[in-house]
């Protein structure tokens, strides 16, 4: 015996029981409350299509809400709780909503949108509180989820008689076979209906498949069919809420199959009649499953309602189990076959049921125009069979209408997939037209949609099946309409006066059954799945305990606070040290590309909007790149290291797209150019040294006169070869030192010693930002946001007049020269502090005319300054505006100025 609890009470199950079987075994009929009306609901099915018996399983981080009681196998210590009820399952105050059902009909919440917004706000509060399923767990899932790729010649989905046979034939023909079954056992339908083929036959077939090299996976659902015969399988290794034996709870398989065989069977349909959702109303095959497979008889006095032969097997099974068949309500006019000894009523359709909260008490039916009623505690219903065509449809197939079975069956396949068995050939049925009160005749049990809701949607003008679905929410619950869609289609077709196939179908989307999110995340679940990339000099920085800031894929030091400084104090001190003596910082993350070959200059002049070919060896210059539509894309520097060898730097954040662009130009746009473009972003570590003492420090480091501004030389520091570039981002005399990343530490140490000797310090990204804002230097992602042209940024004088670069043909668009474009400006505060992201307005309540892209301070004098984009900004210098940031609660009076605040003549970075 296995111990489990339901709503805190202890029960016992038998090995192999589903939770549903175990609950029935313990006489529990009421399992849940419905989504909208809080109607008492029991167990209706024995499979994944269960709409009613949804429970929360497990505790803490392993909690899984909305688990179908029919799709979880009981394990020792299982904890299950009912949902959507307060304070308890039998006494649920939410059931009052059921009394107000006429108000909550189809499209109820859309209707609340009409009228004042307050009305919706009022309703929303109650709807959100009252409607719904289980609560999502709040703790992190402690389990692991793995992913695996597999290949096979034949993938067989469903281990019923057809699937087993197909898998056996393929395996014994020497093919690589994978057979998957969502149940815990093979051939569940053979266990339900043991005829000639029994458990021993199944075991023998399985043994032969395995012996021929086939792989059999149980508790594994083929949940999605993707392009080119890729099928995803979700394998349950532990049950929901269970502690996994080897820490892996579930596995996601990506199976690329040569051929897919679908033996997915069919799902039995309910019938629509009043109070057909009461505990004690079950599907006929489900009843048989509980009797034959689990040895549980869900009722003693049974009425069976059917439109087909299959339900008679249920009658026999129940009779053999000792239950009394009170009546068989058969919709078909003529007696079905020979006398079977059952009280059969032909030309009969169910009308309604009566009962209490926990159970069924009586069933009424219309028999040839006469209403009859029987006392019963179980009603087994069979309204026909819906082939499981989900995977066939996900694979892009089409359907045919099978009139005899009143069902859609697979027709054409777009991929290499065939459907066999019951899914291709459902049993014939007799069409039943519902005869009872549509208001209580449920078709979508999980979303509480009745026939009356379909009628209402029709009356309100919803004609398409897709609109009907959205308006009524039919088929939108976690069961995705497995039981309900055909009933709704039938009703819609009846209203339209057309045949069902003409009414259309909604789209079948993966997954077939709900999939836990952890499976998709797999091993990447922690840290958002992002890999941690570390700077080559990470350890050196970490030893100084800086404040870190994410940049691109990396973290870079934002500030190096000392002696209890705040970040603001530290950044200010670092920036001032750069202005007065010397500072150094890690710039390793910058994008770097080595461009070489006879056509390297031509290649660069294609990518860059500035000239390159006039650059002398040993010289460099600022450059920028455009998108094809003429907007500025990125910026950086280009250095001619040798006759045919250049180093191109660009922004950290744009590194990937720059690499893609270079590759695109080389391989697609200009394949004739003899050039190689190698991404050396992480090959080199970069150290920037800046300040009035930088030249002295560099002289000491490389033992010679350092290069003049915008020049480069190869050199040696601490015995390591380096490239020294003289470029200034801070506005001071400055150098960038590039060194092979694995040898960066001694170079950094030597620089640090020399910088200290000259009264300098390390500076972080905040200080660098203060320095560059004061100089009006651009940052890609803030000033360069993809909406500004070279003209808007004041870069147009640098454009290559000869054209021929990417984006050149976009530049002459008339829109680029129209007045009112946003342009780069400087902003200085007259009163208050300018906030980053603040809107620029002339008066309160007016439409913003621009925004603050970056806010900083005057490093030496203090005072709030910023860069921004402003409509017609070039013409507005001297104008006073307001920079307001409601989100930061900051407002400042500002003046528009030139976008540089410090050494406009550029005297400080030249010798």
């Amino acid at each position: 015996m296995i111990n489990f609890t339901f709503d805190g009470k202890a029960y016992q199950a038998q090995a192999g029981d589903t939770l549903a079987a175990a609950l029935l075994r313990n006489g529990i009929g009421l399992v849940g409350r419905s989504f909208k009306y809080h109607r008492p609901r029991g167990i209706m099915t024995a499979g994944v299509e269960e709409p009613n018996a949804l429970v929360t399983v497990g505790e803490g981080g392993r909690t899984e809400p909305n688990t179908r009681a029919t799709d979880v196998f009981v394990y020792e210590g299982l904890v299950a709780r009912s949902q959507n009820r307060w304070p308890s399952l039998s006494l649920d105050f939410g059931a009052i909503l059921g009394l107000a059902a006429p108000i909550f009909s189809a499209g109820f919440y859309y209707k609340t949108f009409f009228g004042s917004a307050k009305r919706w706000m009022f309703y929303e509060y109650f709807i959100r509180k009252a409607a719904g399923l289980g609560d999502a767990p709040s703790e992190a899932d402690p389990d692991h989820y793995s992913q695996r790729a597999a290949f096979c010649d034949v993938l067989v989905v469903g281990a019923g008689p057809a699937g087993l046979q197909a898998a056996l034939e393929a395996a014994e023909a020497g093919k690589r076979v994978i057979l998957v079954e969502q149940d815990s056992i093979l051939g569940p339908s053979l266990i339900r209906d043991p005829q000639k083929l029994d458990a021993a036959w199944i075991e023998a077939i399985a043994a032969r498949i395995r012996a021929a090299g086939g792989r059999i996976l149980t508790r594994t659902t083929a949940s999605g069919y993707w392009e080119h015969d890729l099928v995803t399988l979700t394998q349950r290794i532990s049950e929901p809420g269970q502690v996994p034996a080897d820490s892996v709870a579930q596995r996601l398989w990506h199976v690329r199959a040569g051929q897919v065989i679908l033996a997915t069977g069919s799902i039995e349909r309910p019938m629509a009649f009043a109070h057909n959702d009461r505990p004690g109303v079950m599907l006929s095959q489900a009843v048989r499953t509980y009797v034959q497979r689990f040895g549980v008889t869900p009722g003693k006095r049974v009425v069976i309602a059917t439109n087909n032969d299959d339900a008679y097997k249920t009658a026999h099974a129940l009779q053999d189990a000792g239950a009394e068949i009170v009546a068989i309500i058969d919709a078909r006019p003529a007696p079905a076959g020979a006398d079977n000894g059952f009280p059969v009523h032909n030309d009969a359709v169910p009308l309604s049921t009566k009962g209490a909260r926990h159970c069924l008490k009586s069933v009424s039916a219309q028999v040839g125009g006469v209403t009859k009623s029987w006392d019963a505690d179980l009603l087994a219903v069979s309204g026909g069979f819906t082939p499981v065509v989900h995977l066939h449809m996900q694979a892009g197939g089409t359907l045919d209408w099978n009139e005899a079975a009143q069902a859609f069956v697979p027709a054409k396949s777009r991929q290499n997939v065939t459907t066999i068995g019951g899914a291709a050939n459902p049993d014939p049925v007799f069409t039943v037209t519902p005869a009872s009160n549509p208001k209580k005749s449920f078709i979508d049990f999980q979303n509480d949609v009745t026939l009356a809701d379909v009628d209402l949607a029709w009356a309100e003008g919803y004609r398409s099946v897709e609109h009907l679905k959205r308006y009524t929410t039919l088929g939108m619950a976690t069961d995705q309409g497995k039981l309900s869609n055909m009933a709704a289609l039938g009703r819609l077709a009846e209203k339209q006066g057309v045949a069902i196939p003409e009414a259309g179908l909604t789209t079948f989307r993966p997954p077939y059954t709900p999939v836990t999110m952890g499976l998709f995340a797999g091993s990447g679940a922690k840290d958002g799945g992002a890999h941690i990339r570390r700077l080559a000099l990470y350890d050196v920085h970490a030893a100084k305990n800086p404040i870190w800031q994410p940049l691109g894929y990396w973290f870079r030091p934002r500030a190096y606070p000392a002696n209890g400084e705040t970040m603001q104090q530290s950044s200010r001190r670092e920036a001032r040290t750069v202005r007065t003596s010397v500072g150094m910082t890690d710039v390793s993350t910058l994008a770097k590309f080595e461009i070489s070959g006879p056509d390297a200059a031509a290649f660069l002049e294609t990518v860059c909007a500035t000239t390159v070919n006039k650059l002398a060896v040993g010289r460099g210059r600022y450059t920028f790149m455009l998108r094809e539509d003429g907007f500025v894309f990125d910026d950086g520097t280009v250095w001619r290291l040798d006759e045919n060898r250049y180093l191109l730097t660009s922004s950290t954040g744009g590194a990937d797209r720059m690499a893609t662009l270079l590759s695109y130009v080389r391989q697609y746009l200009c394949p004739q150019l003899r050039v190689s473009a190698v991404n050396v972003q992480e090959h080199y570590a970069g150290i920037a040294v800046a300040g009035p003492q930088a030249k002295a420090a560099l002289t000491a480091l490389i033992g010679e006169e350092p290069p003049r501004h915008m020049s480069t030389v190869p050199a040696t520091i601490a015995g390591v070869p380096v490239i020294v570039l003289a470029a200034s981002y801070s506005g001071e005399r400055a150098f960038e030192i590039y060194v092979e990343a694995s040898h960066a530490t001694p170079v950094w140490a030597a620089c640090e010693t020399e910088v200290s000797a000259h009264g300098g310090c390390l500076f972080g990204m905040d200080a660098m930002d203060f320095l560059r804002i004061e100089k009006g230097h651009l940052v890609v992602g803030t000033e360069v946001d993809g909406r500004l042209t070279p003209q808007d940024l004041g870069l147009d004088k640098m454009l290559n007049k000869a054209g021929g670069f990417i984006g050149a043909s976009g530049l002459s668009r008339t829109a680029f020269s129209e007045p009112g474009r946003r342009q780069l400006v400087g902003l200085e505060a007259i009163e208050g502090t300018i906030a980053e992201g603040a809107m620029l307005i002339t008066r309160e309540g007016e439409t913003p005319q621009g925004h603050v892209t970056a806010a900083g301070i005057r490093v030496m004098e203090g005072g709030s300054i910023a860069l921004g984009q402003l409509e017609g900004g070039f013409e507005r210098h001297g104008e006073e505006l307001i920079a307001t940031s409601p989100t930061r609660g900051q407002k400042a009076r500002i003046r528009v100025v030139q976008p540089h605040f410090y050494d406009s003549a550029g005297e400080r970075y030249r010798d």
Binding site: T606, E628, Q667, Y668
Partner: protein, 86 residues
């Protein structure tokens, strides 16, 4: 999808990145009008189209794939780049 890289053979789509359609490529000598037309008034056929893909998480080579945009049937894959120039 399964895409047969001209250099690596059949691989899962997850290794590839779709970049753009062939007809969206702006030639370097395009007039402004041609460039704008190419960028902003492109075809969007419900059928076969030529697309530029890159085996980004494999050999990084670019290629042109002729693909049916409804059925995903791939009828041709051609290598591009300096290596593909005869």
């Amino acid at each position: 999808m399964q895409i047969t890289c001209p250099h690596c053979g059949p691989r899962a789509q997850a290794e590839f990145v779709y970049e753009r359609t062939v007809d969206s490529v702006v030639p370097l000598d395009a007039t402004p009008e041609e460039a704008m037309k190419t960028l902003f008034t492109r075809n969007n056929p419900r059928g076969v189209d030529e697309e530029i893909w890159r085996h980004t998480f494999g050999c990084r080579a670019w290629m042109v794939i002729t693909r049916h945009r409804v059925t995903n049937e791939i009828t041709a894959i051609r290598a591009v780049g300096p290596e593909a120039i005869p």
